[in-house]
Point group: C2
Chain length 272, copies 2
């Protein structure tokens, strides 16, 4: 592990996993990314609820919140800002794809430093590129933050320019799915729209929070099938995830947005 | 690890991987399954060639054959029959989907016992069910034996009846892709047909060998988009992978086949 990282596996401070873990063998597990601010994991209950819901969709039993909280207690204190990754795999089993009837999941909590650019981009707006890779629509995995993320890896490999902050992903049917690491919202005609996650994408906690915040502003919030044109036509475009919170989009390919008012307002409301 | 398993990671006999390995984080890697018979790994050069080709498609540098052979040398001897799994991951990196510019891959060789039914089913024929899960067509990953195998896991979870030996997978466009853990061939009108792997599936070494063997029999061998109807209509249906070698299909849903002549012939020719 990099020196800036630290992990707790099943309650023990170790930096290794059994080589036969099905997460390593098949990507058979789920995860969540949690921002830590002022020593506190943000949106903790929501994150655990989403992790548990995702695990249930794969029939992986999710440990109760107090187990995760005990794990957190094992991480060294005194690091007020950072990123947690919570991973839950189906654990070990016999050879082959068939899972064990009663899995013994492995639980991993990893800490790493928060890259410095997240809050800066939130202020100035993100530069976004359109990815060439199109996601394959899979209703059985849509919305789940599972460990099968090769599509995201391949999409992220499309650019190395550090001036580009995120990539926009479409699926093979031409629907907008979201960012490589984020959910997408567009604001148009008084409505806040975000892609339906029936065929792909991840149901992020920041997405839930953004929708709730917009409803408190009395905006109409709707999940829809979005086209690339609808994104270009939007008055404002924004990206959300637990680290970004809300990023206004300043540029997508050659389209530039100067108005970020709603993005900034939602960002301020996200914790309420 | 189960007591019947044993692993060599980067040349050392250990049973753990770094928790930050991208194989564990994202399924960012490839693997191959190799049958060991009379103490010899079958089709060894072909397996390494396929592993290397798959790794190249994901831009993961693959170690030279002699490294894998040294790993094999670390496994305890005296086990003439078994199964090897060769896994190559992109190794560790910084947080997030973006891979390191110069990855240091992790190399894992794991040994496990060969389940007893493989050769028995080859003689009697396999009973196969049609899976409800439909694969999502993804040309960028098609053919690669990568670590993103949740679709296979979910498909394999559809049945627990040990009298069912394999599941047949279609994609969301209605094309036959193959078995959950195997490639499929149908014999009809003097032609041996197998699904094209342009949208999904794994290009197995046993598939290559079966095609080569059939050509030595002067059969026409063709990759094609196959429908479920074409499978039901076939004179013979067979499944291949490195452990099965060639399994004749005796039953798919309610369709029964009594003729397995070509399957048995190909099976005998597979090592030539």
């Amino acid at each position: 592990m990099a020196a800036s990282s630290l992990s707790v596996v099943n309650g023990r401070v170790v930096d290794v996993l059994p080589v036969g873990d099905r997460g390593c063998l098949y990507g058979d597990g789920v995860f969540r990314t949690v921002r830590v601010t002022h020593g506190t994991p943000c949106w903790w209950q929501d994150q655990l609820a989403r992790l548990s819901r995702d695990a249930a969709r794969l029939a992986i039993p999710c440990p109760a919140p107090d187990r995760w909280e005990q794990d957190l207690g094992q991480l060294p204190t005194g690091r007020p800002e950072g990123v947690l990754r919570l991973t839950l795999t189906r654990g070990e089993g016999n050879r082959g794809y068939r899972p064990p009837g009663e899995p013994t999941p492995n639980r991993i909590v990893s800490w790493s430093a928060l890259p410095g650019h997240y809050d800066a981009v939130a202020a100035t707006g993100a530069r976004v590129r359109l990815c060439a890779l199109r996601l394959a629509p899979q209703p059985h995995l849509a919305g789940i933050k599972h460990l099968n993320r090769l599509e995201n890896v391949l999409a992220r490999m499309e650019w190395s320019d550090s001036e580009i902050h995120e990539g926009l992903l479409m699926d093979t049917q031409g629907r907008i799915v979201g960012g490589v690491s984020s959910n997408l919202f567009i604001f148009q005609g008084g409505e806040l729209l975000t892609p339906r996650l029936t065929h792909g994408g991840v149901a992020g906690v920041a997405r839930d929070r953004t929708m709730a915040a917009a409803r408190r502003l009395a905006l109409t919030v709707r999940e829809a099938d979005l086209t690339l044109e609808s994104v270009y036509d939007a008055r404002e475009v924004m990206l959300t995830n637990s680290l970004m919170r809300v990023w206004p989009v300043a540029r997508l390919q050659h389209r530039v947005w100067h108005t970020h008012d709603l993005a900034h307002t939602l960002r301020e409301l996200l914790d309420d």
